[in-house]
């Protein structure tokens, strides 16, 4: 009995011993508390999670030597051996953050990304580009609603931060696109050739971009094509403007796909319904044939994309220098664009990518003077001589771009690559040929250095040599990003950018050099679920711009600057089913180039630009409404004339256009939205630009004698579009429904 008592007391003692409290604090390497970290004793049920101050406390019956395991998402797991003996054991644990691509900061200075949302700089998705009100699914029009881009309507291209349209280059899967826009008539902006749905991701870099891209002084539009389509589908499109049909096939295992799409556009009917300012004797007509193949390789993908385009148009305008003569302009374009890209992951952190490009472009243009009766007239002397011309321009571009990438650890990456552009341009102007050939070779290296998940540094450099210019250049690029609390982010970028002068200045065989720009960018971004705010300030210095000394004399004596502040705000959270974004850009820029007599504000740059994009889908009527409002203050215009007496250019007249204002509207009606398993999907799109009928004046052009000026305006006050798109196979209805649940 006595023994039993002893045994009992011993047992009681043991029980009281086992009720141990284990507590402590979990913090990261910077001493900040780690919230909701899991703490437990290995192999037992006992444990808890840390509270909002990182503190934890739990009771256990375990004793002796035990292992405490602390885990938390985004941190390396820590196991600590402890001896549990006393009533209270305190175990403080410091967790080290895992280097992780999803958590890590990404440089956002200068860059706006639209895509699948995997990048920290993503502000739009592909659907946003398709549904910008009045944008007619044109990438450039959508990008113009972002800060940094100008509302230039008289010429295609993106005019970014005081830069000319040609200072922005487009890259598809790494290689440059030589003629991204359709060929058109003077003073009318044309659409881009590429359908936004081709792209998985679009990055609009308004400056400070990576050393992997060159030959763009101002901006890069970086487009990444879709890897593998979701499903096999057939599609047609019907509109008074065009007819299209396509087929896309995906193998069952999703390792091979091919597709073809053909579109025929003819605006004859449209121009009869909607009166245009110009008289078209050949209404614009386009054939477009797209072909694609995609193969999944062992750990990568090979993609081939080809676009064959043929177009023509002919237009008559009243001649500015005469009372009743007409200026006749005709153009026929043939364009063949081919892109092959191969990405492969070799394991061990090694990756390669290879981009191959081949493009061919031929423009056959002619100009003539015509009497009102339609007879050609040839008049001697200027300005008449220049009005009768033929220009046949044939360009080819072959590109090769290999890149090797080595991942040094979870985040740090080193890239090395090269680029070769073999370009040929053969213009024949009134029987005189001005052929140009250039081999542009480039080598580049870049490294991403992460001090931790919150601080990143990107350092790169690029060397280029042009056989035509017989000159080389070295362009360093640096970017830095620092995030705090995963919400706030500061980024900065610096870089030097070079670009060859446009071919039209090189035809005359003068020794010209690369044009140069230097970017300084500071960016702050605040990103919360559904809301994003950005502010960016920049300074850009231009050097070695092309200066015109007389009619055909050019040198690199031009320079200029651009500086400004840009704001971006997007909110899809505050009002249910309602999404909007606002962009504002302030731009101060001056340049002394071409025939400018001194440094002046160029005519393609407005000081203030504002865009507001609104989107809302109304479920009961199955219709989405999208509005885009853009405003820009008036731009300067000049009449610059050559003074033969002083052998200099003078400003004979100048002024400022009225402000630009455009309200675009589009609606998409989804009548077929049957059951989610429907094989047929139908959507009706209608849109109109400049709903309010604002009288847009982009610029002025002057008569030869300078006594008369004429505004440059859009071909019609408004552009209307209506189209019906039908898809078989893939159903996008569910996308639309789910976005509104």
């Amino acid at each position: 009995m006595k023994q039993l008592f002893t045994l009992l007391t011993l047992l009681v003692f043991k029980v009281s011993l086992s009720q141990t409290t284990i507590d402590g604090k979990i913090s990261d390497t910077k001493g900040r508390p780690v919230i909701a970290a899991s703490v437990n004793i290995k192999g037992s049920y006992d444990g808890t999670i840390s509270d909002s101050s990182g503190n934890y406390s739990f009771e256990t019956f375990e004793t002796g030597k035990q292992i405490i395991v602390v885990t938390s998402v985004g941190y390396n797991t820590v196991e600590t051996e402890v001896v549990i003996a006393n009533k209270r054991t305190t175990v403080n644990v410091i967790l080290k953050e895992k280097r992780n691509e999803l958590q890590a900061v990404v440089v956002t200075a200068g860059a706006f990304a639209a895509g699948d949302g995997k990048r920290a700089s993503t502000v739009l998705n592909t659907l946003d580009i398709l549904t910008v009100g009045g944008g007619n699914a044109d990438i450039t029009t959508a990008v113009k609603t972002l800060p940094g881009a100008q509302q230039v309507g008289e010429s295609e291209g993106l005019f970014v931060r005081g830069g000319e349209g040609y200072e922005t280059k487009q890259f598809i899967d790494g290689t440059m696109v030589d003629h991204p826009y359709f060929s058109g008539s003077p003073n009318v902006a044309t659409r881009g050739r590429f359908n936004p749905a081709l792209f998985r991701e679009t990055v609009f870099a308004a400056g400070g971009y990576s050393a992997l891209y060159g030959q763009a002084l101002s901006s890069a539009l970086i487009l990444e094509t879709v890897d593998m389509p979701e499903k096999t589908e057939a599609s047609i499109g019907v509109s008074p403007l065009f007819l299209s049909a396509g087929y896309q096939s995906v193998s069952r295992k999703k390792n091979f796909s091919w597709g073809m799409h053909y579109a025929y556009t003819n605006v004859k009917l449209y121009f009869e319904l909607v009166k245009q300012r110009q008289e078209y004797f050949q209404s614009p007509e386009f054939h477009n044939l797209e072909t694609n193949f995609r193969w999944r390789t062992k750990n990568g993908i090979i993609k081939f994309y080809s676009l064959l385009g043929k177009s023509k148009l002919g237009v008559k305008d009243p001649d500015i220098d005469s009372l009743d003569l007409k200026n006749v302009f005709a153009i026929e374009n043939f364009n063949w664009y081919n892109n092959i890209s191969w990405r492969e992951n070799w394991g061990g952190g090694w990756k390669t990518s290879l981009g191959l490009g081949f493009s061919y472009n031929s423009d056959r243009m002619s100009g003539a003077l015509e009497t009102p009766q339609g007879n050609k007239v040839l008049l001697p002397g200027m300005p008449w001589e220049s009005k009768n011309f033929t220009l046949d321009k044939t360009e080819t571009l072959v590109q090769i771009k290999p890149v090797i990438e080595k991942k040094l650890d979870a985040l740090n990456v080193f890239r090395l690559g090269g680029e070769l552009w073999i370009a040929s341009d053969k213009p024949v102007f009134n029987d005189s040929a001005y052929p140009l050939r250039d081999h542009l070779a480039a080598a580049f290296a870049e490294t991403d250095i992460y001090l931790n998940n919150d601080i990143a540094l990107k350092i790169g450099g690029r060397y280029e040599y042009s056989s035509l210019l017989k000159k080389g250049n070295v362009a360093p690029r640096v970017a830095l990003a620092w995030q705090f609390n995963k919400v706030h982010q500061l980024s900065a970028a610096y870089g030097i950018f070079y670009q060859k002068p446009e071919n039209k200045y090189l035809y005359f065989r003068q020794p010209l050099a690369f044009m140069k720009s230097t970017h300084y960018i500071l960016n702050y971004q605040r990103k919360l679920a559904g809301r994003i705010a950005r502010i960016e300030a920049f300074y850009k210095q231009y050097n070695h711009l092309i200066r015109q000394t007389n009619f055909t004399g050019y040198n690199n004596g031009g320079d200029g600057y651009a500086q400004g502040v840009e704001l971006f705000w997007r909110d899809k959270k505050s009002v249910r089913n309602f999404d909007y974004w606002i962009s504002y850009s302030y731009l101060d820029t001056k340049r002394d180039y071409l025939n400018f007599p001194y440094s002046i504000h160029p005519n393609f740059a407005a000081a203030h630009t504002l865009s507001v994009v609104l989107k809302r889908f109304f479920l009961p009527i199955k219709t989405g409404f999208n509005f885009t409002y853009s405003f820009a203050t008036g731009r300067p215009y000049y009449d610059i004339r050559y003074n033969t007496a002083t052998a200099q250019y003078d400003i004979a007249d100048e002024g400022r256009t009225t402000p630009f204002s455009n309200l675009g509207f589009s609606l998409n009606y989804v009548p077929s939205a049957g059951n989610p398993k429907a094989k047929t999907f139908l959507v009706l799109v209608a849109s109109v630009s400049n709903v309010l009928g604002h009288d847009q004046v982009y610029n002025y052009q002057y008569s030869y004698n300078g006594k008369y000026r004429e505004p440059i305006k859009p071909p019609a006050p408004r552009f209307f579009f209506i189209g019906l798109f039908v898809n078989w196979g893939i159903d996008r209805t569910q996308e639309i429904i789910d976005s509104n649940l």
Binding site: N40, G43, S44, V73, D116, N125, P676, I737, L741
Partner: protein, 209 residues
Amino acid sequence: MIRSLLLMMLLTGATASFGQSEKYNDAMTNYLQQLSDAKTTQDYQKLSAAFERVATAEKTLWLPYYYAAYSLAMAGWTDANLDKDANAKKGKALVAAALALSDNAEIYALTYMFATQQMLVDPPSRYMTFGQEAAAALEKGLKMQPDNPRLNYLKGMALVNTPEAFGGGKQKGKLVLEAAVKFYEAEEVKPLHPSWGKQQAVEALNKIE
């Protein structure tokens, strides 16, 4: 004397013999009780961690992994400000651990929930990925066990919430919910096994009528 010894053995827990499953049952019952009372994200995360501890200690049982994931799914439905991707990433890892131990239909309900929560973050751009993942999980689960009441309940609710013109509709949903309720009534729930959703299914049905 012998009786006292026996009693003492019982009292001290005799952890070696049949204690393990009793300890497991007690812990699970206790946590499941807490789960039905849980309200905040912190409650759910705490419980998820508790179930996960049981799961890692037991090594071979899928139920604690299931409930660890289920707790996070509940947090995902109730907390609008929760980072759905981070929550789903953790949840899906727990689901994978459960599936590795037992490939049963019940677990696909959780894959459906996490994928749906991720899809709802930005439906237009995420439908093609997460929307399809959710639909595939539901389909797979129902194929394995067509009379699973919880999967039928989820399917019924999805139909109810989709407008008629878009292939859903209350009447279509009602049929599936009625089937779900029938399956709930016919089901013999094994101890500790999932049994949620019956009450909600009945309530949803009453709302339709």
